[in-house]
Every structure is written in structure tokens, then in C-alpha cells.
Symmetry: C2
């Protein structure tokens, strides 16, 4: 007999393989088990591609008939870009389905469970459900708010400085931290930086150390459209570049378009790009996983708009002093209770550095409550397995 939690863990690992290619779809992983042995594995490899369940059934080294299907998210039951997975599962002869969490998409929630049950398939809900909810948190936010999921990232000294008084910031964090940042970029749809970061550092904003077919889009907040066409990111990655601005300047735009750069004219707010408007535009471009790399003024604008979902804070064991450049721009908090609250959800070590992962919003609860509502783990009794 296999341990259902370990099989679900494998399905979760498979799901994560699809991260960065899924756009407005959730990531999903699936495993088929028969006679105490894994016989098929699959994951949703990308937007518009077959779903994880179909991939896992196709991957089976023997007939899945009579076997168990493990899937991190409730299967789909409607025809979208692909036919409903419930049909394929029923047709395959699978006898039991173990589901991590219920699909937060109201078009799907609970429907597959009923369809499978009606077809005589046992359905068990809620294996490693916290992790299964966590890995689709971006998708859940999209369903609930039609907004991208914004992750801020910064490396600072222990006293919260991202550069010295002279602007030197290379390198605050260690090499392992920086490699991990490239992984984080690689699973994002878009990377946002402010125009000052481009002017000061002339960064490429590309993914290094990881071979991915996809290059995340680079989005520059440049309210005055002042970016130089000589910037490395324009010259080397123009076709992956989006300039978010508030001014229409046809000659500048034509110049940038020659490099393949797209210019998004956004609404203006207090002299800057209106981030709520940008958020809408990113959604309409199917860009949901956005990695915001600074600088501090950009961070402050996102915080003020309540758009920050998560903050990856790499802390390097050094002190720069109060004359350095702080992590966040001004936030005008008068009292401590005005400060923007978050929650430390995870820590990881990279050489001498520590990474703190803070969440400002939690969308997992919504999915966990839905799952609770449809839970029927013991309807047929788990002891049969």
C-alpha cells in the first residue's frame, strides 16, 4: 500500500514543474497508482495544453483500470480549450480519486466530485490540502479579484538598507541567494522594476542559471517615458519588454517599437503610473505572476495600493547604517498601528543569508473553506484501500 500523503507530495512536485507556463490556469499535478505502485505521472505543462490528469493517464505504463488517481486540484468538468477531464477519468476505469483541494473557480467547484461520485468512483478530498491550496494562491486571487498575484523581492542588510549612501548595492546578498532569485524570476510571468533601477543599474532582468523556454516579460514603470533606447534591457530583450507609462510620445514610442518593445499607456495617479490600471492591463495580457524587484519607491506605491501579496526578503548579515538607501520609500505612517501588517510564513537559509517570506494577503483560506464544504473523505471509508 502506498502512503497517500507521499503520493500527493509527488503530485505537488509535478504541479510545480508547470509553474511559469500556466498564465491564468492553475498549476496541477497528477499521479496514477495501481497495486501499490506509481504507474503514471503528469502535470499541466502550460496554458492551453492537456490537463495534468490526462497527462498522467496517458503516461501509464499499464492500464489504469481499477487504479487510484491523485490530483492536486479538483478535475475540470467542462469543455474549455480541452475536453472535460471527468470524462477521461470515468472512461479510464479509475476506481478512486484523491483530490488535494476543490477548484475555486465557481464554474467548477464541487462539480467534478459529484460527476465522479455519480459514475461510481470514490472521491477523497483534502490530502496535503494546505500545500495544494498554497500552490494555486495566484490563481485563487485571480478568481476572487481579477488581479495578478504580486510578489515583492529585495535583498537588504540586517538594518533594512538596499544600498549604501553612494548607491552601491553589488552585492548585498550571497551568490546562492542571487541564484534563487533567478529561479523565482523563471517562474514569473512578468518582472516589474522602476525606471530609476534601469537608469542606475542598467540591468538585463533576464533569467540566468536556469534553462527555461520562457523568458518572463520585463515591465518598466516609466511614467515620463524617459527610458534610453540604449539601455541593455531595450537592446537585448526588447521583444520581452513592456514600458508602462502615462505619456504618449509617438516618436519615442516608434523608436522603442523598433526593438520590439511594447508601450502600455496607463492612467496617471499622483504623477506616476496608476498601479490599479496597470494591474487590469496585466490581467488582460494573461500575466498573473508578477515579481516586483524595486526600487523602494515602487515598493511603497504597491504597498499603498494594497497590491502586495507576498514579500521575499533576503537578509544579509551586515550593517550599512541609517545613511543607506532604505527598502521602502516613504509611507507616511504616523503611528505604529498605521504600519502595513503582514505575516512571516517561511524562512530559508542561503549560505550566510536568510530569506524571510512574508504574506500580506492569504487566499488559501478561501480554497480550504470550499474544500471543507465538499469534504467527503470518509463517505466510503478509507480503510478499504
Amino acid at each position: 500500500m502506498v502512503n497517500p500523503l507521499l503520493v500527493m507530495d509527488e503530485a505537488i512536485q509535478l504541479a510545480l514543474m508547470g509553474k511559469g507556463y500556466n498564465y491564468t490556469n492553475p498549476i496541477v499535478g497528477a499521479v496514477v497508482v495501481k497495486n501499490g505502485k506509481v504507474i503514471g505521472r503528469g502535470y499541466h505543462t502550460g496554458f492551453g495544453m492537456p490537463h495534468a490528469e490526462i497527462e498522467a493517464l496517458k503516461d501509464c505504463e499499464e492500464s489504469p483500470e481499477g487504479g487510484d488517481l491523485y490530483v492536486t486540484l479538483e478535475p475540470c468538468s467542462t469543455t474549455g480549450k480541452t475536453p472535460p477531464c471527468t470524462d477521461a477519468i470515468i472512461k479510464s476505469g479509475i476506481k478512486r480519486v484523491f483530490i488535494g483541494v476543490v477548484d475555486p473557480n465557481p464554474n467548477h467547484s464541487g462539480k467534478a466530485i459529484k460527476i465522479l461520485n455519480d459514475a461510481g468512483i470514490e472521491v477523497f478530498l483534502g490530502f496535503n490540502e494546505h500545500v495544494c491550496a498554497e500552490i494555486i494562491e495566484d490563481f485563487t486571487k485571480f478568481i476572487l479579484k481579477r488581479q495578478p498575484y504580486f510578489t515583492l523581492k529585495a535583498a537588504s542588510s540586517i538594518d533594512g538598507m538596499i544600498a549604501t549612501s553612494t548607491g552601491d548595492s553589488k552585492w548585498i546578498s550571497g551568490e546562492s541567494s542571487r541564484i534563487y532569485v533567478h529561479y523565482l524570476r523563471s517562474v514569473s510571468d512578468g518582472i516589474i522594476v522602476g525606471i530609476n533601477t534601469v537608469k542606475n543599474d542598467d540591468p538585463l532582468l533576464n533569467v540566468r542559471n536556469f534553462n527555461r523556454e520562457k523568458e518572463p516579460l520585463k515591465i518598466i514603470l516609466d511614467s515620463k517615458l524617459s527610458i534610453s533606447p540604449e539601455s541593455k534591457v531595450v537592446k537585448d530583450f526588447g521583444k520581452y519588454l513592456i514600458i508602462a507609462t502615462t505619456v504618449r510620445d509617438d516618436s519615442k514610442m516608434d523608436n522603442l517599437k523598433r526593438y520590439g518593445v511594447r508601450v502600455l499607456i496607463c492612467k496617471e495617479k499622483n504623477g506616476f503610473v496608476d498601479l490599479m490600471d496597470l494591474s487590469d492591463k496585466l490581467v488582460s495580457l494573461n500575466l498573473l505572476n508578477i515579481f516586483v524587484e524595486g526600487g523602494g519607491k515602487v515598493f511603497a506605491s504597491f504597498i499603498k495600493e494594497g497590491l502586495v501579496d507576498r514579500f521575499y526578503h533576503f537578509i544579509s548579515p551586515k550593517v550599512i547604517g541609517g545613511d543607506g538607501v532604505p527598502l521602502f520609500g516613504d509611507l507616511n505612517c504616523e503611528k505604529i498601528e498605521d504600519a502595513y501588517k503582514c505575516k512571516l510564513t517561511d524562512t530559508k537559509r542561503f549560505e550566510e543569508d536568510i530569506l524571510h517570506i512574508y504574506k500580506f494577503n492569504d487566499y488559501t483560506n478561501h480554497v480550504l473553506q470550499l474544500t471543507e464544504k465538499f469534504r467527503n473523505r470518509c463517505k466510503y471509508g478509507c480503510s478499504q484501500g
Copy 2:
């Protein structure tokens, strides 16, 4: 048979009971084991009091003859304020002595080991030696440098701010963090704050939540001797108060002395109290464990002088913004490599907060190397036990 590591752990816990009372002595704990059972426990309860070994032997519920003595630090072998412990151990009939680490005091290092060996007692060195070295790090620094051990403490937001732009700082951290700070105060000989902290917060700087017979001294850095005799700390804790200043003002000093306040006239450096001179004066007052509570300018001065040994950084999950008050004053680091390096050695959680413990200096290595030099754990073979 008892597990020697667990017994040494108990000796370490006993040693820590004496913390805050030991002044220029190391803290030490001792346990006597006979026939697989703990029969006596003791620790060094305070400067000038009997040593841990003597307390443990005295505590024995039956004769220690033929038993094992566990002690976190090599016993003393000379007559100080009390007779040499080696005499008492030999006289007690103890057969084996398990020692955590060798005494870094060159008057003692290795001597007890030889004396005990010569008396036919088996001596084993190095059980939980890293922890045994850690708990006497203040003493080791004193032996090596004749300076107090300075621990900085601050609570900040995740972006390193200790107050809002208006100066509000109550309360950045949670209640559990603040209670732990009172514990940390209670095991310190002295608490240092700058005069601005006194003027802004009018703090008592006393130990609350912990009943200790000892109240740590409160040391105010007040270069211009501008403290108001109306300050709470003067009125309520005058006899525990030291004002470190650079000016001699007899009428002010007389006024303060009426409350029992001591005034230390220190050398001046760049308009402030010369911290190296203060450090010497603290040593001559037998004050070795100094807890520096800020503010940021005081922290910056200690960092620049290379006096910081440890930094307790409580991080509360909130963002204040770059217009807040930073952890450290200006340090004039031009390049990242000019930043002051430290090492994250421990983390602890308090409700929503996380505590990072950083070390700027490591004095444990000295003791560990000494212990290595005298190690003879297997001279007689451990298997006899």
C-alpha cells in the same frame, strides 16, 4: 547508565541560573551522578560565592564517593575568594570528572585536569563543548580583551525602522518579545541607553515580569550632562543609575547625587562619550554583561568602535517605510564591502515576531581550541562507564 550529554545539558541549565550574578566570574553548573542516578546539583550562585562543584557535592543526597562529577567548565585549582575546587573533588572520592570546556583563564587552563589526573581521577573533556563555550563567551572576552561583552537589542519593522516619522514606537514588537527583553535585562549587569531615549521615552529601564534580587545598573550616555532630575529613571532608580558624561558640572552632579546617581566623567571623542574609555570604566566596576538598548546613534557609535559582540534583533511583521527612524545611525559606508559584517547564529519565534541573534565577534573558538589541546576523552576509554 545515564547519557553524559543529557547530564551536561542539565549542568548547563544550572549554570544559566547564575547568569546576572557572576560579574567577572564565569557561570558554571555541576551535577553529581552515582549508580546511574543524579544525586547532587549545584551552580555558581554569584561572585564570591562557592563554586558550582562545591554546591553540587554539598547537595548530594548520599556520599559522592565513587561517583561522577559533571561540570561545564574546568574546575579551579587555586585559592581565590574560595579554596581550590580540585581539593574538594579529590577529597570527595569522585572517580570520574566530565568537563565541558577548559578554563580560558591562563592561571587555570589545564591545571585542574592535571591535578585530578595525578590524583587518579579520570577526566573526560568536551561534552556539549560548543554550548559550554557559548555560555561563558562574556568571560572569555574579558580574559582576552579586558572589555565588557556588549549585546545590542532592538525591535524593528521588517524594513528596519524602530519608530515612525513622528517618533511613535509603542509597540513595534509583540508582548512575548517584550517579556523576553525583560529576561535579557535581568541577566545583564548594566543597560545602556542614549540620553535621547531618556528624553523621548522617559523609560524606567527596570526589570519587569521577573523577580530578581538584582536590579541591573542603568547607564545613560549623556555627554553634555543634560538629563533632567525629573526623569523617572532618576527619581525611581537613582541608586541603580550611572550617568556617563564628558563634562564636570558640580551643581548638577550634586543634584543627581541626592538621588543616589553616580556620575562617570569619561574622555570625550567627537563630542560624545569615548566608548573605549567607558568600556574600561565598566570593567573596573566589574560590569561585564552590558545590554545596549539604543537608540540608533548609540548603536552606530558602538559599531564604529568595534565594540558590538552580539545583536538581538526582534523583527515584527509590519512595514513602516523609509520615512521612519532607522535601526542604526549613519555609518558612512561607501561600498557594500565597507558594511559591518556579522553572522546569524540563532533565530527564535515570539508570537508573530522573529528574533535574529547576530554575532559580530566569536570568542568561543578560543575556548574550543584550548579544549582541543587538553582533550583526553579516550585516555582511559569511555566504555568503562
